[in-house]
């Protein structure tokens, strides 16, 4: 009655084992991500920022200028600005505290004692933060769409979809960068501050670094141009002006290209985070 293994079955086994391993890794990653998502909707950060955004937008929307009740672009700009600020704060603060909190509360050790690798742990945390920020973005953009549509009587759903997905992929880069920062820096506060400054800095001047570089002497020019090519161009994902001023859709190929660009940078930062975390002493 002893089970016997046929030659064909033994040849298939490594493949099956690999598949099982991948499935188990995916399960681990999703389980960790699920915990992060549950944590986000239990915390008050999102609700406070959402209520603030809604309140400021509605107050600004109640103002009438020269008896013209259908002025909308200023309102769209303010609302999008608040959404961007809130989403950056939510993503960075959520991502920055994940790994340090697990270490401080000593929950990291039992987690890693189970068959969860360090890389799966980092990737799970990343996906958790990214999905959580995506969920909050959906709510923010639905609110934005309702406010803009109520004033404008137009529903450019595809434009909003493009803006939201680009925004979400930007948050993916920021999230990966923050997870990486949380492994490098000592405290969540320093990680949050540095990541926020870097992200806002790139958003503000990333697009113009090449122009500044061209005005410099060598070797400053080459150095700055190298920085320009190396940094993730977060401003590519900021299409607020197109939405505010009702410009037409971005070509879908270009949109997909931007998402791939974002995914590539997220993967690079995440790979670095995994690498550093595997070498880091956690006790």
């Amino acid at each position: 009655m002893n089970p016997t293994t046929t030659p064909i079955e033994s040849a298939v086994l490594p493949e099956v084992a690999r598949l099982e391993q991948s499935a188990s890794a995916a399960t681990n990653v999703l389980a960790i991500a699920g915990v992060v998502i549950r944590e986000m909707y239990r915390r008050k950060d999102f609700y406070v920022l959402f209520v603030l955004t809604a309140l400021i937008t509605l107050v600004m929307g109640s103002v009438t200028f020269f008896n013209q009740d259908n002025i909308v672009r200023y309102l769209k700009e303010i609302c999008l600005f608040l959404i961007w600020g809130a989403s950056l704060v939510i993503t960075i603060t959520t991502a920055a505290r994940q790994i340090p909190a697990e270490r401080e509360q000593r929950t990291l050790f039992p987690l890693l004692a189970k068959p969860v690798t360090r890389s799966q742990f980092v990737i799970g945390k990343f996906f958790g933060c990214w999905f959580a920020s995506g969920l909050s973005l959906v709510l923010f953009y639905v609110f934005f769409g309702v406010v803009a549509g109520a004033r404008e009587h137009e529903w450019p759903v595809l434009n909003y979809f493009q803006a939201m997905t680009l925004h979400w992929f930007l948050l993916g880069i920021v999230c990966a960068l923050t997870v990486l920062g949380s492994i490098v820096f000592a405290a969540p506060s320093s990680t949050s501050t540095i990541t926020l400054i870097v992200s806002v800095g790139i958003l503000l001047i990333g697009r113009h670094l090449n122009k500044v570089a061209l005005r410099l002497e060598e070797p400053g020019q080459t150095l700055l141009y190298a920085v320009y090519f190396a940094i993730p161009h977060l401003e590519l994902f900021d299409v607020r002006d197109l939405i505010v001023h009702n410009w037409s859709l971005i070509p879908w190929g270009v949109w997909a290209g931007a998402l791939s660009y974002g995914a590539a940078y997220s993967a690079i930062f995440l790979a670095l985070a995994c690498l550093l975390f595997r070498r880091k002493a956690i006790n």
Binding site: V63, F65, F66, N67, Q68, N70, I71, V72, R73, Y74, L166, I205, R207, H208, N210, K211, V212, L214, Y228, F229, H233, E235, L236, F237, D238, V239, D241, L242, V244, H245, N246, W247, S248, I250, P251, V254, G257, A258
Partner: protein, 324 residues
């Protein structure tokens, strides 16, 4: 303990003495803002002028549908707000405004899909669609484009609703700018122009101008714009004449002594007065205004042609209308 209490008492006495000395000085100080009724003035002081300027520029950004140079771009063609050029009929924008130039690298080329990268204005080819912009330059529509049925230089919303008005989007920034710096006359004039012409809100335009006149009593630029409301929109010739003449008088008083007077506005007031009298067939008065105009105008031959025409009462002259 006793020394400690005594030193505290000494400090209190010094503080009270200083307060009694400084309080009267502060009340008489020119920079004291506590007497102002304007909360913004109290809170921001002179920095409100900077914010006012920023919001005025913001109106110009909106006028260009977001296409606007940053501090890193060349500002050639954007030195003056385009939103105000129509008011003064300057039209200095021809051929200006491609501050982006050719893409410098692939990121630059790729990035131009994600922000407004074409020069458009509110109300003309508003959709910003490349096909419509192409058509606007009289090059026709792309046959495969969804917008191929659109007219050249069209305005989607006006077409859809049958009423004009995308220019309304610039109004909040003018309102804010005027709130922050009521002494900035340009804000009232330009906002009033758009309200009166494109938005057909003559009452609101007049109210806003009067608000500007309360903040800047007797300002000739505001009076000139108010005169245009009476003349062009309300067709109230008598009041228009009075307001134009007051504007001319104030212009002479304020600009006459200056080494570099604002000639353009003086010329515009005189031309408007001459036009008004010409339409009322009050030719001697029109000639008087043209004579004054000839003294300051750079287009003396054209003005003389009009004077000759009015003196002889001959056939319509071949000379083009004055460019003011």
């Amino acid at each position: 303990m006793r020394a400690y209490l005594l030193s505290l008492a000494l400090l209190a006495v010094v503080a009270v003495s200083l307060a009694t000395a400084l309080e009267p000085w502060f009340q008489n100080w020119a920079g004291n803002r506590t007497k102002s009724d304007n909360l913004l003035q109290v809170a921001l002081g002179d920095s409100r002028r900077l914010f006012a300027r920023h919001f005025f520029t913001k109106a110009d950004v909106y006028f260009h549908n977001g296409y606007y140079p940053t501090i890193y771009d060349s500002r050639a063609g954007f030195d003056k707000a385009h939103v105000g050029e129509a008011v003064h009929r300057q039209g200095g924008e021809e051929g200006a405004g491609d501050f982006l130039g050719k893409p410098k690298d692939w990121i630059d080329r790729f990035g131009r899909h994600f922000y407004p990268a074409q020069h458009t204005h509110l109300g003309d080819s508003e959709c910003g669609h490349s096909c419509c912009l192409h058509a606007k330059q009289h090059n026709g529509h792309d046959e495969n484009c969804d917008h191929k049925d659109h007219k050249e230089g069209h305005d989607h919303e006006a077409e859809a609703s049958g009423k004009p008005g995308l220019e309304r989007e610039i109004l909040p920034w003018f309102r804010l700018s005027a709130e922050l710096d009521p002494q900035r006359v340009e804000t009232y004039v330009i906002a009033s122009y758009w309200l009166r012409t494109k938005l057909k809100r003559v009452d609101e335009a007049e109210t806003f101008l009067r608000e500007g006149l309360r903040a800047n009593p007797g300002d000739y630029e505001l009076l000139f714009e108010l005169g245009r409301i009476f003349y062009e929109s309300r067709k109230d010739i008598a009041r228009a004449r009075n307001v134009f003449e007051l504007a001319l008088r104030n212009w002479r008083e304020r600009e006459g002594a200056k080494p570099e007077p604002n000639i353009l506005l003086g010329v515009q007031i005189l031309n408007q007065l001459a036009l008004l009298e010409r339409e009322q067939q009050n030719y001697p008065r029109a000639i008087e205004h043209y004579m004054l105009l000839k003294e300051v105008s750079p287009h003396k031959e054209l003005v003389q042609a009009w004077i000759d025409y009015l003196k002889t009462n001959g056939p319509p002259i071949a000379a083009p209308p004055l460019p003011y």
